[in-house]
């Protein structure tokens, strides 16, 4: 029983950073741009957030800095891909490299430092509900915010005019042109907003989840977020569910180890990646039918220059 609670609350805690990044990637991909640099945006967000929180003492200023940092890195991707027509996968990977180097250079001063972290806040009343209480209502503030983020993003994309423009840029870019909008502007906005969300994801990791900074601390979560968006068929609410699935796979390892179950740690560490691959294998073809048209072009034929 308590194993279930441990894994589920760990799923929510551990899945939140991936959810933010996945939501960001959804925005970007809906406009027709894949950003493998999401991993890099998370790294930059994690460091910018941690460093700012350390310098100012305010975790929320940290989150703000993470937004700026993630957006700034994504802007480079936007310039390369949207303006210069560079290959999206190559550009994204390049960003990751840049982020790895930059965060390791600037982050070396912050290893082992402490901050005013975002600690879990139990919501009176609600947190006493059996199972659901500790799982959903004994979390940090960024996690509570994420409960709203996914539905809000869904509303924004499905029901508002900016959302419509965004989807059009991803489905049939020429329609935007016909109606006097600029595809480039829309895509820039989407990629940068996506980077900002990924930055928040990184900040959740450094300010709330691990409450510390260390080199290369994202270890693949950004890539998982990219995969997540595919099997969530570009729908924010499914991204949310997928992120918790990832979080559960992540939480299983410490929960089992705390109970003295002797399984090779790395066999458990690999679970999130295996689960992601398996789900992709089973849902891949079906969800790809829902891919934005411009995006499918990117996925189907990635030319060589």
């Amino acid at each position: 029983m308590s194993l279930v609670v441990d894994v589920l609350s760990g799923a929510v805690r551990g899945g939140t950073s991936v959810m933010y990044a996945g939501l960001g990637e959804t925005v970007s991909e809906k406009a027709g741009v894949v950003n493998l640099g999401t991993e890099g945006c998370m790294l930059v967000g994690a460091l910018a957030g941690f460093a700012t929180a350390h310098a100012t003492g305010s975790p929320w200023l940290g989150v703000l800095a993470a937004v700026v940092g993630g957006a700034a890195l994504a802007l480079v991707h936007a310039v390369l891909v949207v303006t210069r027509g560079a290959n999206q996968f190559a550009s994204g990977l390049t960003l990751l490299f840049l982020a790895l180097g930059l965060t390791s250079l600037y982050g070396s001063d912050f290893v082992g430092k402490e901050i005013n972290a975002l600690n879990p806040i139990a919501i009176p009343g609600l947190s006493d509900i059996p199972v659901l209480g500790p799982v959903l209502f004994d979390q940090d503030a960024l996690t509570y915010l994420s409960y709203l983020a996914a539905p809000a993003l869904w509303y924004l994309m499905a029901r508002t005019r900016p959302g419509l423009l965004l989807r059009t840029a991803g489905e049939r870019a020429e329609v935007l042109t016909v109606h006097g909008y600029r595809t480039t502007t829309t895509r820039y906005a989407a990629v940068v907003a996506g980077g900002a969300l990924a930055g928040i994801g990184g900040a959740h990791l450094s300010i709330a989840y691990a409450q510390s900074w260390f080199e290369n601390m994202i270890v693949g979560r950004g890539f998982i977020a990219v995969a997540l968006v595919i099997f969530a068929s570009w729908q924010p609410l499914r991204v949310m569910a997928g992120a918790y699935l990832f979080g559960a796979a992540l939480a299983l390892s410490p929960a089992l180890q705390a109970r003295g179950v002797g399984i090779n740690q790395f066999a458990l560490d690999v679970l999130p990646f295996l689960v992601t691959l398996l789900v992709l294998a089973f849902l891949g073809r079906r969800t790809l039918m829902n891919a934005p048209d411009e995006l499918r072009r990117v996925f189907d034929n990635t030319a060589t220059t």
């Binding site: 493998l36 480079v76 310039v79 390369l80 891909v81 210069r84 027509g85 560079a86 290959n87 999206q88 996968f89 190559a90 550009s91 990977l93 390049t94 960003l95 490299f97 840049l98 982020a99 790895l100 180097g101 930059l102 390791s104 250079l105 600037y106 070396s108 595809t183 480039t184 080199e215 270890v219 693949g220 890539f223 998982i224 990219v226 995969a227 595919i230 090779n264 740690q265 790395f266 066999a267 560490d269 690999v270 990646f273 295996l274 992601t276 691959l277 992709l280 294998a281 891949g284 073809r285 790809l288 411009e294 072009r297 990117v298 189907d300 034929n301 990635t302 030319a303 060589t304 220059t305």
Partner: protein, 364 residues
Amino acid sequence: MTATTEAPPSPPAPSPEPAAAPRWRGVAEAATRWAVAVLGAVIVFGAILVSKGANPVTVFADAWQATLLNGYAVQQILIKAGPLALGALAVVVPSRAGLVNVGGEGQIIIGAVAAGGLDLALGDTLPGPLMLLVMLVGGLAAGAAWAGIAAAMRLLVSVNEAVTTLLLNYVALDLLLALIYQPWKDPDGSGQPASRPVEEAAKMPVFSGTQVHVGLALVVLAAVGVWAVFRYTAWGFRLQAVGGNPEAARRAGLPVTRLLLSAMLVGGALAGLAGAIHLTGVEYQLRPGFAAQIGYLGFLASWLAKHRPGPVLLASVVLAALAVAGDSLQIDSGLPAATANILAGLILVAVLGWTGTRKKGATS
């Protein structure tokens, strides 16, 4: 059948000869753009160093001295450039067919794991050279199989290979760690998680008096082979036709699925071979930091060289030099070794943004 309008059949590979008169202007223009791009990257990198309180001139001078003017470091660069170049060729072959293989890192690890596993299993039952051959072939096959997973997912369920190869990198790394922390851990070792060293007789021979091993000859051979395959064989030609326009290739009756699969398998095989060579020629044992980002650097090298085998060798040496310089930075200037990644990243940003042919509004 001119499917490859943007990638002209690769120019004479290893050393780009001075081009004929009509092309001279174009070459000069490209060279200028490259120079500006690299210079821009170096300047930005210098500014970053300044912001960190380091003197860029000293850093560059130190790095220069510690790498290129130092015989030991030059050997380090060469033995690092070898697997890196194979890792880059593992990107080159699929990319000619329009596939993005970001899984070099994982394929290198799996290649090394297979080679190491064969060594552990067979011990000294085989004569040394034969054992070495078995390990190399084993690594090659394992790398191909690992890439085959991503290829199968692309071809059977249309999941993009860039995403799956990336995820498989992490699976490969965890597999390596799981093995060397428990079942394969060297009982006579220092307590560090690492497998026992490769049998002495099965190690790659080195040029006497140096650390440079003969596996590097294999690397050059592979580069020439890849170049020749795309230049002279029907398979290479068809692959590029698929890369240029898969739909046209399909209608022309080419077996697109089989071609894509084979491109990915060959790519994985090259990376797997890189892993086996790195194990038998340099590392001798599997340890946690075994691959050291060689696969990712190979990806950058392939894109820097625009997927041409000759320039890939050059780009690999440059990136290997950067990586070695990064290690020296750590010692001389107290900057983290990963700092060199910034320069590598900046150069590729510049190359992607300012030396490519701009495609109007395209997002391919």
